[in-house]
């Protein structure tokens, strides 16, 4: 009898990938250990070999990223490093991933599992040299520009691993040109080209029909197609290296060590929680404005102003298990601030990998013991097929900036104050398109304002600039390369004045950027909105949130005359006032500009993180340094920080008037005690206001929408305001 004939149906099924995946899931469910690994035997037996093995795999994916950057034409890949590579077990758990766009690691694994669960092993089949692509969050992704290619690794007939890469493509054929969404995208069909679990390459070569689809459906195909080649190059390199590593360490070792990495990461997560945090309940909420009424280009179905509400409750129980709950969040809507459940989970991984786990082996295992609940049909877990989820990043920022705050509270209480961050920040890109300086139709984006300031830290100010937790956009690379690719010139990039989250420790700086359109007679811009009406609720211990930010445009101005005659030019948003012509300032960012041309200007500011601690406790010498370095004005020094200072003409710096400051601060504290009212008194007057619904219409509408979906939020609201059970909004 042949060996095949002797196998039971169950045994045969278990040899399939689907069987392996199901078996792994069963083992975890039954034992609470990844792959049922209860003992890290290989690690215990020879820890040096174990770590060496991991280092080999990790260095491979790091090298692949650096190499792939050079294959892509995209400034996003080459200059900004907006890509990432990883190795996965056959079941789709990552075991090592590179730096870069790390949010995608769990999501790429999710894509692998989706293919397995949907019988791709049978049709189209998995062969060496095949690459499968996805950018669709309905399967497992963040948004359209972030395209995954995953490829199987075979030794003989055995699929022993997967390799995957992701890049951020600069132009995706959406409603507005560029990559990340603009604020006016409100439906799925406007998000650009979806590549939905597709077999796109055979024998490591892109299929012709796939290439044609990209050529004819995006404004500037080289960005996409060269990124595809970069991913293939990276995947092929890693695949080759993985085979060498298997030869060196042996197949059995590769298999078993991979499983141990995932299990080790799972244990590590709980160890970190118990080492650094405090069990209990953490709460916060934050809001975002998405104003679409009357906006050019917004469909009639979406002509509405929205307030997005994200409440986040985090619980850590006595066993160290972490649970996050977005109960009470706004319903999904006809705008771009929606996330699928998978994308929200991706945000969890990028946050905890950097704020809690801190370990080179942080992989999918570190997320196995976390409960994340976002109610179905809300912005954190959109269910409607037609909902635009392209700016899931917005929901991720809102949610995980609160989690960063919670981690900060825990670290502070535990004593690890150096690890505290007063919130992250939001990303804002500038999307653009039209005709480039070579006369070609183009689309693209710049993201340098993403690399802005961080929240204040527990022991020092926030990182001034070039910081970003969500992706590698803290490092923009060379401005000249961006100017080479896009029809604009950088005029100014400054830290904004009076634009930090104030506190004993202030946040890092806010960016102000000014660009001039150059060599194009047709170029238009859009942005995803962020904070024009809501100060993000991300400060800690008495610090302030950062200010809001806007988009500004200037067209048909006297820029050419100014340049020709060497007159002052605008380098900051305030300096746009120098110009004659049409200058529009203070535009909230759900906006697409009318077409601009050479000498027209675009300017934007960006929000930074929050402040920490009472500003009146800030060291006056730090305030005078802020004055000298241009972070704050003398009015803010006095009004916000209670510091009296004078400019020393001979030393050319601001100096503190110590007696004046002492007196100013004493007065300010007295003023607080005089104007502050007991919360009980405030509660009574506000309760009447809430009961009679004397609140802004849009706020009432927001509460009503959230309450309709969440009896829990309704109950908490009623309980706080001591309202009847029958009271409704």
């Amino acid at each position: 009898m042949s060996p095949e004939a002797g196998k039971t149906a169950k045994a045969k099924q278990r040899e399939t990938l689907k069987g392996k995946l199901e078996h792994a899931q069963e083992l975890f469910k039954k034992t609470g250990h990844c792959y049922g690994v209860k003992k890290l035997s290989l690690k215990e037996k020879d820890p040096i070999k174990y770590e060496l093995f991991h280092s080999r795999v990790l260095s491979t994916v790091l090298a692949a990223r650096d190499m792939a950057k050079m294959v892509s034409s995209s400034v996003m890949a080459r200059e900004e490093g907006e890509l990432c590579f990883a190795v996965f077990t056959p079941e789709g758990d990552s075991i090592a991933f590179s730096t870069g766009l790390m949010i995608h690691i769990g999501l790429m694994g999710g894509f692998i599992r989706w293919m397995i669960e949907h019988d791709y092993e049978e049709d189209p089949g998995f062969n060496e040299g095949d690459h499968f692509a996805n950018n669709d969050a309905m399967i497992s992704a963040i948004h359209t520009p972030d395209v995954y290619f995953v490829t199987p690794v075979y030794v003989g007939d055995d699929l022993v691993a997967w390799v995957g890469g992701v890049t951020h493509v600069l132009e995706v054929g959406g409603l507005t040109p560029g990559s990340a969404s603009s604020g006016i995208i409100t439906e799925r069909c406007q998000e650009g080209l979806h590549v939905t679990g597709e077999h796109v390459a055979r024998n490591d070569r892109l299929k012709r029909d796939y290439e044609m689809r990209i050529q004819l459906n995006t404004r500037y195909a080289p960005f996409w197609l060269l990124d595809d080649r970069a991913r293939i190059a990276g995947n092929v390199y890693i695949r080759g290296q993985v085979k060498k590593i298997i030869e060196e360490f042996g197949m059995d070792y590769f298999r078993e060590a991979s499983k141990e990495f995932v299990e080790e990461s799972r244990r590590h997560h709980t160890l970190r929680i118990k080492e650094k945090m405090i069990p209990g309940r953490y709460r916060s909420a934050t809001f975002m404005d998405v104003f679409l009424k009357g906006k050019l280009g917004v469909l009639p179905t979406a002509q509405k102003d929205n307030i997005i509400h994200i409440p986040v409750e985090m619980k850590i129980d006595s066993s160290g298990r972490l649970a996050l709950d977005l109960e009470g969040a706004s319903p999904e809507g006809r705008h771009n601030w929606n996330s699928r459940a998978c994308s929200l989970f991706g945000g969890l991984s990028i946050t905890l990998a950097q704020m809690l786990h801190f370990d080179g082996k942080a992989n999918d295992g570190s997320l196995k013991d976390i409960d994340l609940h976002a109610p179905l049909g809300t912005v954190g877990n959109a269910k409607d097929f037609w909902t635009a989820d392209d700016w899931s990043w917005g929901i991720i920022h809102m949610t995980y900036n609160q989690v960063i705050k919670y981690l900060g509270r825990a670290y502070f209480s535990r004593g690890y104050v150096e690890e505290v961050f007063a919130g992250g920040n939001h990303m804002v890109t500038l999307e653009m398109g039209g005709k480039n300086q070579h006369g070609q139709l183009f689309g693209g984006c710049v993201a340098d304002m993403v690399g802005s300031g961080s929240g204040a830290r527990g022991v020092m100010d926030g990182i001034t600039t070039a910081w970003q937790i969500w992706n590698p956009e803290g490092d923009q690379g060379n401005a000249e390369m961006w100017e080479l690719v896009f029809p604009f010139l950088y005029l100014g990039r400054r830290i904004g004045k009076d634009a930090c989250g104030a506190g004993r420790y202030r946040s890092g700086g806010t960016y102000e950027m000014v660009w001039m359109v150059n060599d194009s007679d047709f170029c238009y811009f859009s942005q995803i909105g962020t904070h024009s009406a809501f100060f993000p609720n991300i400060s800690l211990f008495g610090g302030y949130p950062p200010p809001v930010g806007f988009l500004h445009l200037a067209k048909d101005t006297d820029m050419k005359e100014r340049i020709d005659n060497k007159l002052p030019l605008p380098y900051t948003e305030n300096e746009l006032a120098l110009l004659s012509g049409t200058v529009k300032t203070g535009l909230d960012r759900a906006y697409v500009s009318e077409p601009l041309k050479t000498y027209d200007l675009v300017a934007t500011t960006y929000c930074t993180g929050g402040g920490l601690g009472d500003p009146l406790d800030r060291d006056p010498q730090m305030v005078s340094r802020d004055l000298t370095e241009g972070f704050i004005s003398s009015q803010s020094a006095e009004q916000v920080y209670g510091v009296k200072a004078f400019f020393d003409e001979s030393d050319k710096e601001w100096k503190v008037d110590a007696e004046g400051t002492k007196s100013c601060r004493t007065n300010k504290k007295s003023e607080r005690l005089a104007r502050g009212i007991p919360v009980k008194e405030w509660w009574k007057t506000q309760r009447e206001r809430v009961q009679s619904k004397r609140l802004p219409e849009l706020v009432l509408e927001t509460y009503k929408e959230c309450m309709a979906l969440s009896p829990h939020f309704t109950s908490e609201f009623r309980k706080f305001w001591a309202l009847d059970e029958t009271w409704t909004m």
Partner: protein
């Protein structure tokens, strides 16, 4: 590896150089940090109650008899730690161009839609320190930022006794109900 208490004191008081602080960030965490931290903070405060957990720059959960309360560094007591301490603070609201402009003055406009978002400042009634700030829609319930599970932390994680008699559940709404009555 453990650090000298003086190093931890310099760290939390912001006197370490940036590079020294970054070295501490990069290294494995010292296991005795919590104890040293509490010692340093206890030496700082002018009152005798034992600090159980710091929860803000000047805010502490302390043991008072067999109960735990929230107390400011200045000595002002906010009551049972299971009731949101903010309910016993002073509040100031910034929700218009003028009052928001005092904080974000130079930047115009200060907001695209004044009135949708209010900044709430919570002051200690004893010393006037600004202890927390919220940025929320008008009418939004005051947020109870952090309710620690002291029992799980002390007895479970640290392996120590905690001589408190209160169970750990949230008592905020009991206070609210009292307010409703008058």
């Amino acid at each position: 590896m453990p650090y000298d208490k003086s190093v931890i004191k310099d760290l939390i008081e912001g006197r370490l150089s940036d590079s020294a602080a970054r070295r501490i960030m990069s290294e494995p965490k010292d296991e005795d940090r919590f104890d040293k931290y509490l010692e340093i903070l206890q030496e700082r405060v002018g009152w005798p109650e034992r600090i159980l957990l710091p929860i803000g720059e000047r805010l502490y959960i302390v043991q008072k008899g067999t109960e735990a309360i929230v107390k400011c560094e200045c000595g002002n007591e906010f009551g049972d730690y299971r009731v949101n301490w903010k309910l016993n603070a002073l509040i100031n609201i910034r929700d218009n161009e003028d009052t928001l402009g005092e904080i974000y003055g130079r930047r115009k406009p200060v907001s695209s839609r004044i009135g949708l978002c209010e900044i709430r400042e919570y002051y200690c009634p004893g010393c006037g320190t600004q202890l927390e700030v919220e940025s929320l829609t008008p009418g939004y319930p005051i947020i109870f930022d952090f309710l620690p599970d002291l029992k799980a932390f002390y007895t479970g994680w640290l392996g120590r006794t905690l001589p408190l008699e209160q169970p750990g559940d949230d008592k905020t709404y009991e206070t609210i109900q009292e307010w409703k009555k008058g």
